[in-house]
């Protein structure tokens, strides 16, 4: 910790912060684009790790060493591992669902993203790009409306202790609520993750829900849909498996699939 704190302080008070920022900002944005663009899901997940780590580095530049540590441990260490675990579990290491069904939508999505970025940047504005910390300036003037910089020193010197104090004094209730949320989430995941396999659970859950006709028809319709849209896709193991699972569905409810097709693509 001491090292990190020193590093953070150094970054803040010298040109080192600028270096830190430009390097890791570039990495963060590049890896973010990679997450969106890469077809291979595992690669995307790895790019996400890269992104999260570079954000952790940016936290250091922001004198938030505690956040930086938490970011690495929780995000990179736990969450992304969970992602990878699920990807491996489901055996879908290749993303066969890249992109939207129609090119128009892809263009629209990108346009929307760019427009939003533009809008945000407009708000951030040119002024703030040159503004120094409000804390140092205003407080130094001793003006009546000066922004107090309570905790900044502590935050940079002893980030863990400071945030810890805050968490267990002012934010105790929120902290307890968060812990409760984690417990509930764990239980929820437990319930949701149970595999609904009639063959395995026959004696445990006698009336395990079986997908009804409509669901099957819907899935089948999607399969047919995808075949049209993504004819160029090279390998599609998951979809093929699905298609073979419900071969009879098409016969049962052709009307539904018809209307679904026209409705969705209209």
């Amino acid at each position: 910790m001491g090292l990190l704190a020193t590093l953070a302080e150094g970054a803040a008070t010298s040109g080192a912060e600028a270096v830190l920022f430009w390097v890791f900002a570039a990495i963060a944005l590049g890896s973010a684009v990679a997450v969106v663009a890469l077809r291979n899901v595992v690669h995307a997940a790895l790019m996400l790790v890269l992104n999260l780590l570079s954000v952790a580095a940016l936290y250091l530049g922001l004198q938030s060493s505690f956040l930086s540590i938490v970011q690495v441990i929780v995000y990179a260490g736990a969450i992304v591992v969970l992602f990878l675990f699920v990807i491996m579990l489901l055996g879908i290491d290749r993303d066969d669902l890249l992109g939207t069904r129609t090119p128009v939508r892809a263009v629209a999505a990108v346009v929307a993203g760019v427009a939003l970025a533009g809008a945000f940047l407009t708000v951030v504005g040119a002024d703030s790009l040159t503004a120094a910390s409000a804390c140092g300036q205003l407080a130094g003037d001793g003006a009546a409306d000066a922004v107090t910089c309570v905790g900044l020193d502590e935050a940079s010197q002893d980030s863990v202790g400071f945030v810890g104090m805050q968490l267990f004094t002012r934010w105790t209730f929120a902290f307890e609520a968060a812990s409760l949320l984690l417990v509930v989430a764990t239980l929820g995941a437990l319930v949701l993750g149970r595999r609904r396999d009639p063959a395995l659970e026959d004696d445990l859950v006698p009336s395990a829900p079986v997908p009804d006709e409509d669901d099957l028809a819907d899935t089948a319709a999607l399969v047919a849909d995808d075949e049209d849209d993504l004819a160029t896709a090279d390998v599609r193991p998951a979809e093929d498996a699905t298609a073979t699972l419900e071969p009879a569905a098409d016969r049962d409810a052709p009307d539904v699939s018809e209307s679904d097709d026209t409705g969705r693509d209209a």
């Binding site: 963060a28 579990l89 993303d95 990108v110 940047l121």
Partner: protein, 99 residues
Amino acid sequence: MPIGYYFAVSALMFATGLTGVLLRRNAIVLFMCVELMLNAVNLTFAGAARQWGGADGQVFVFFVIVVAAAEVVVGLALIVNVFFRRGTLDVDAPSLLRR
């Protein structure tokens, strides 16, 4: 570094993540894009915390991370569940709401 740069990076990351949400159909990738957006927001919080010298921004990021962890746990469980039920990760597949 002036705070505006951090905000700019945050904005771009958020927009990138959002584009991913709009673009990708794979539920897992979509989820990862949501994480990107969350991180962008976290960066803004941390930047603001330094700019105005408050600790609340950092505490808030901490809670966002906690909630994100919980969300990922439940979300991934849902994805697994849906995949077992429907055999696909296409988020456009469950369109029952339409009827």
